[in-house]
């Protein structure tokens, strides 16, 4: 079902639930993996994914279609991720390195990475990036999202995003080439 059709059906109270169900089915995987790459652990990713769709439900009626539905949902998911990471830091009063340590532990516990030393090292290097830079890196490197779309998701200029990705890549390469 196309986004326009979903939106039209959502506005009709009789077909609202069906339309929303279609929307969740269409975007759930993208949202989940976008979130999971940031928080790494499934439980946090599950909580955030559900919260994202509840926000979508609450605000979809007022969605003005300045951006595509996909970009708008990504933006909500991005903000939710950054909020969770920020609140975790504030809640535990931990410095940046400690929340990174928690994420690294999640990463090391992940069975899919067992035995792949280079990939594990790469993932650990990505984790050393500040949250927003890591987000930019994930959107570009893994999702291959165009910079223009990334600008809509993050509310940042294309130039700033290009610079951010470039710095992130250099930091990761430097990290990978140590010892």
């Amino acid at each position: 079902m196309e986004d326009q059709e979903i939106l039209a059906k959502f506005r009709d109270p009789a077909s609202r639930n069906v339309a929303f169900n279609q929307l969740v089915r269409k975007y759930q995987s993208k949202v989940y993996w976008h979130v999971r790459k940031m928080v790494l652990n499934h439980d946090d990713a599950d909580d955030i994914t559900q919260d994202v769709f509840i926000k979508v439900w609450n605000h979809l009626e007022n969605f003005r279609q300045d951006a595509s539905l996909y970009t708008w949902i990504y933006r909500i998911a991005t903000n939710e991720c950054l909020s969770l990471l920020k609140s975790k830091r504030r809640k535990f009063l931990l410095p940046l390195t400690d929340i990174t340590a928690e994420l690294t532990t999640n990463l090391e516990a992940d069975e899919s990475l067992a035995g792949d030393e280079i990939e594990l090292k790469l993932q650990k290097a990505i984790l050393t990036l500040p949250d927003k830079q890591r987000l930019v890196f994930n959107l570009r490197y893994y999702d291959e999202m165009p910079y223009e779309q990334m600008a809509e998701v993050t509310g940042t200029s294309v130039g700033a995003l290009k610079a951010s990705y470039h710095h992130a890549a250099k930091k990761i390469e430097a990290q990978m080439n140590t010892d």
Binding site: N17, F20, N21, V24, R25, Q28, S29, Y32, W33, R36, K37, L40, H42, A45, D46, T49, Q50, F53, I54, W57, N58, D110, E111, S112, L113, D116, I118, E119, L122, Q123, I126, Y141, Y142, A169, I172, E173, M176, N177
Partner: protein, 152 residues
Amino acid sequence: MNTPFRLDEHRRRPQPPLAPPPDRYFEQLPMRVMQRVQAPETAAPAWGWLAALAAPLRTALASALVLSGFAASFLLSPAGPAASGTSDALAQVPRQELMQYLLASDQRISLTDLAELPGTAQSTPAETYLHASPDELQDLLDLQPSDEETYL
């Protein structure tokens, strides 16, 4: 010598190699989300009338509630907590110490004053503070050196 790592030469994966979510997670997720969005709607009728009110009316109602809360807490708060606090504090002072304090200076209380205590009304401060029976007071007075000659 190892070749330096370059990100654009590294085999790019579509996703970081993280473990997949539990089985049938994506099949169940839409239903779980629907349950969560519909739960507040079924619970809404009790407060639904609030949403139907105009915004200024809601603000006025909220202000009235806050003000009546303040008024109620002011009216219902117990009066004179300081007085009862003082009585409690004095009740905790040992009787012996109180006696010594009262008898230490003529300007505070005299033996004559104390001698009159058993016959005074219940509101007498010494009786309230000392919690002593007339017999106890009389015994304590008898132990004090007599100064009757000053009245002779």
